[in-house]
């Protein structure tokens, strides 16, 4: 693995959390993202299931990459992912039947999360096992972070609670629209707006720094 030499383990792990956040920056994996984030606990369980599937399949793909023929690689990745999703689905059914019922069809739908397939194709199939797992963990934690941010905003505004603990007392009138589908689209839109704003500000700041440096020279 000649490409692994100039990789920094810490960087590969951290990039998924913020700089290349799969949801806020790459805008991938939207379907499960919006559908299950009507409460913080659902968002966390979904994030945990994705973490398990992504780390498991990245590990397997990175270790088997020498034996996977190029022509059928995508189908093989999908079968590997589907296997881990089945395991996650049945484990959740056994451990947390309540949450499993609420998430319903969206646990099996992790298979169709393009973020997971994207990591196999773009990273795990080209790097060693150690980096593949680190990258998967970073990306999945970034995904969970995004799910949790969206889920807690929607639960706080739409239900007046966080993790089912009421926050505002009896006088709070919940914004029901936030836990319904439109609230998901609009909240994510506004969060992306904040990210755009931060990116523009940073760019402007860097420009100012560059100009100031030029003037001092």
């Amino acid at each position: 693995m000649e490409t692994d030499k100039n990789l920094d383990a810490y960087q590969e792990f951290v990039k998924g959390l913020w700089r290349d956040n799969p949801v806020f920056v790459q805008v991938l994996g939207m379907c499960p993202m919006l559908a299950v984030t009507n409460s913080a606990i659902n968002a966390l369980v979904m994030g945990g299931a994705t973490l398990f599937v992504l780390i498991g399949s990245s590990f397997l793909v990175a270790s088997l990459k020498k034996w996977i023929p190029k022509q059928v690689r995508i189908s093989l990745y999908i079968i590997i992912i589907a296997t881990f999703v089945t395991v996650a689905d049945y484990s959740l059914l056994a451990l947390m039947p309540g949450v499993h019922k609420e998430l319903g069809a969206f646990i099996p739908l992790i298979v169709a999360n393009c973020m997971i397939l994207g990591r196999q194709e773009a990273f795990a199939s080209r790097h060693g096992v150690r980096f593949a797992v680190l990258d998967a963990a970073g990306m999945a934690l970034g995904f969970t972070l995004a799910l949790f941010a969206l889920g807690s905003v929607r639960e706080i505004l739409g239900n007046g609670s966080l993790f089912n603990i009421p926050l505002f007392g009896d006088t709070f009138e919940p914004w029901v629209i936030m836990i319904l589908p439109p609230g998901g689209f609009i909240t994510l839109g506004l969060i992306l707006l904040v990210f755009n704003w931060a990116a523009v500000r940073k760019q402007r700041f860097m420009q100012q720094v560059a100009e100031a440096e030029r003037e001092t020279l």
């Binding site: 999908i78 609230g183 998901g184 609009i186 707006l193």
Partner: protein, 192 residues
Amino acid sequence: MNELVWIFISALLVNNFVLAYFLGLCPFLGVSGRLDTSFRLGLATTFVLVITALCAWFLNTYILIHAPYLRLISFIVVIASTVQFIEMAIKKLSPALFKALGIFLPLITTNCAILGLAIFATNRGYDLVEGLIFALGAGAGFTLAMVLMAGLREETELSDVPALMQGTALNLIIAGILSMAFMGFAGLFSST
């Protein structure tokens, strides 16, 4: 008969796959820039949905009774190979249509609406006819959402939008408003 009409209208409007279940968002946000391509993609997706409903029913009835834990794996394999097969068939039979669909055809495999349809139909225990009607309704609903979104996006391209809003953020907020409008259809069935 009434039941079938209900399934169709429900999948088309009330429980629209894109705007109420968030299925198929990748093409919805990715390729809804032009009206004609979104319409064509919608039709191709509807076609794949119907074929998938047929395959899912066959698998559920004859094979998966014996091994329910293989459901997910067999569904995804069947969907991937169906799309591949349709791609080859269209290429052979109608090169013009194949050219018009272009890259969208293989992309349908990763559209979660397809797998979602197979899983929903299984969970609700639809028989063959109900499943096919459900697939038609879902496909028509997907096409409708795509076309509406593409129309709105063509409008926003002509108007003066603040630079910060451009791109996905604006599209998501438009989708939110569309979804709110579609929630109005929920009243269609409350009286019956």
